[in-house]
């Protein structure tokens, strides 16, 4: 014997199924007579006395609302079939597929009456344009207005340039070498078989730091400090640090591999969802 709870659960499932069928008929222009309105109304009637909470009553109301839409579509369907515009869509589709492009155009041209529309300046817009022209300064004067002030030359110290972020305090090559050593160390500690998962190395506390690390990693790979190992089926990327700087051979084809480091991926990695 089915318990009351199970009966209600089954009722909700049935109503949801009816709603989904109605929706697919509404959205995909399917034959609305595919929906058995009478049978479904009986189902709604059967379960209606069970509904006590507002959610269930809303589900019931939504089902009835979809019945109304499908009934309206059924009425339209009958009307459409009785008009001379009704044609079997499959027949028409088949005709279109078999017709040559030029034949379609010739046929369309017979019944097409393109709109005539002109775009031309009017007296009013001409007057407005003349007023604008009168108020416009000559180019010479406009340049004069925007003339740049004379630049004064001077000297700047290395520290000042570092402060203004024009120069870095350590050379990029040095920074890269340090980063390479960090990669080797992290791989030895956290990696497996001499390689480390891309995100486990690149990922950092903040997103901006992560982007910076991804940027540096790309240089490590380009300059031969490390290589990438990609497993396309598993969608996994590993970084394999080279123990010695690998020389770049001229006859070896270089390949660019774009790796997206999005804020979403970074958040997933932080939550441990990205492996």
């Amino acid at each position: 014997m089915q318990s009351k709870k199970e009966h209600e659960h089954l009722g909700r499932e049935k109503l949801q199924r009816i709603i989904n069928t109605c929706k697919s008929v509404e959205d995909r222009s399917l034959d609305p007579f595919l929906v058995d309105i009478k049978g479904n109304i009986n189902t709604v009637k059967e379960y209606f006395p069970e509904w006590k909470i507002p959610e269930d009553l809303c589900l019931d109301a939504e089902t009835v609302h979809h019945f109304a839409s499908v009934t309206r579509l059924q009425s339209e369907w009958v009307k459409h079939r009785s008009t001379n515009l009704y044609t079997d869509p499959f027949l028409l589709e088949d005709k279109i597929r078999r017709m040559e492009k030029i034949d379609i155009v010739k046929t369309f041209a017979k019944i097409w009456r393109p709109t005539i529309e002109l775009e031309q300046i009017s007296l009013r817009s001409m007057t407005e344009a003349l007023e604008y022209w009168d108020s416009l300064l000559p180019m010479k004067e406009r340049w004069k207005e925007n003339a740049l002030g004379e630049n004064q030359t001077g000297t700047a110290t290395r520290e000042e340039l570092i402060n203004q972020r024009i120069l870095r305090d350590i050379a990029f090559s040095e920074e890269l070498e340090t980063f390479w050593h960090e990669l080797k160390k992290t791989t030895a500690e956290k990696g497996e078989n001499g390689k480390i998962h891309y995100w486990n190395f690149v990922g950092a506390e903040t997103y901006s730091e992560t982007v910076q690390r991804a940027f540096m990693t790309s240089f490590l790979i380009t300059y031969g400090y490390a290589t990438l190992e990609i497993h396309p089926l598993e969608e996994e990327i590993f970084i394999v640090p080279n123990q010695e700087l690998a020389p770049r051979t001229a006859n070896k084809q270089l390949v660019s591999i774009p790796i997206a480091v999005s804020a979403e991926d970074w958040q997933k990695w932080k939550k441990g969802e990205l492996q």
Binding site: H80, L85, K95, K101, I104, T107, R113, E117
Partner: protein
């Protein structure tokens, strides 16, 4: 010239200016605008204009909001309708090219319109694109559908369903198109 003739001649000129020159994003003029500019007897002025432009193979076309032509429209229905000048006779594919339509694009438009008509005026964009992909290069299909929407031949809702829009109603005789396609025999 009689006073009455002079009155209608001036109204005719005014109606020509309003109907031929594009003032809004959409071409044509709404009935209430003509009512305001030409007075309550604007349907008569339009009838005179229609007779006048017949010799030039043009016509004054009325597109009703109700999506179908009407035998005896009321003043309210006329005020809400859009009036346009369209070609009266047929156009050749060569002429279509001259007005900026490539054969491919025009064939695509005809296919899209016919397919939507066969689906009772509403079809999923994906289905229309699949059909167009049969005859047009894949990269062009999406661009073309967007173009048909931009020009007002088709419209799309938030569920990516395509419908026929005002320009199709104004420029295309839907019954005749379906009949011609069905009666087409391969030569």
């Amino acid at each position: 010239m009689s006073k009455r003739k002079a009155y209608y001649a001036s109204k005719l000129k005014r109606a020509t200016h309003l109907l031929f020159y594009k003032k809004h994003k959409k071409p044509g003029v709404k009935g209430w605008e003509l009512h305001k500019a030409l007075g309550p007897d604007y349907p008569k002025v339009l009838k005179l204009l229609d007779d006048y432009v017949k010799t030039l193979d043009l016509q004054v076309k009325t597109v009703f909001e109700e999506d179908r032509p009407m035998e005896k429209p009321t003043t309210g229905q006329l005020d809400k309708a859009r009036f346009l000048i369209t070609l009266r006779g047929e156009i050749t594919p060569k002429e279509a090219k001259m007005i900026g339509w490539r054969v491919d694009d025009l064939a695509g438009l005809a296919i899209a319109i016919t397919y939507i008509i066969s689906k009772k005026g509403k079809a999923p964009r994906k289905e229309v694109e699949d059909l167009l992909r049969d005859k047009l290069p894949g990269w062009k299909v999406g661009l073309n559908v967007d173009r048909y929407i931009r020009y007002g031949y088709l419209t799309q809702d938030e569920n990516e369903q395509l419908y026929l829009d005002w320009r199709t109603r104004a420029e295309v005789d839907q019954n005749a198109l379906v009949d011609l396609i069905l009666s087409h025999e391969k030569t």
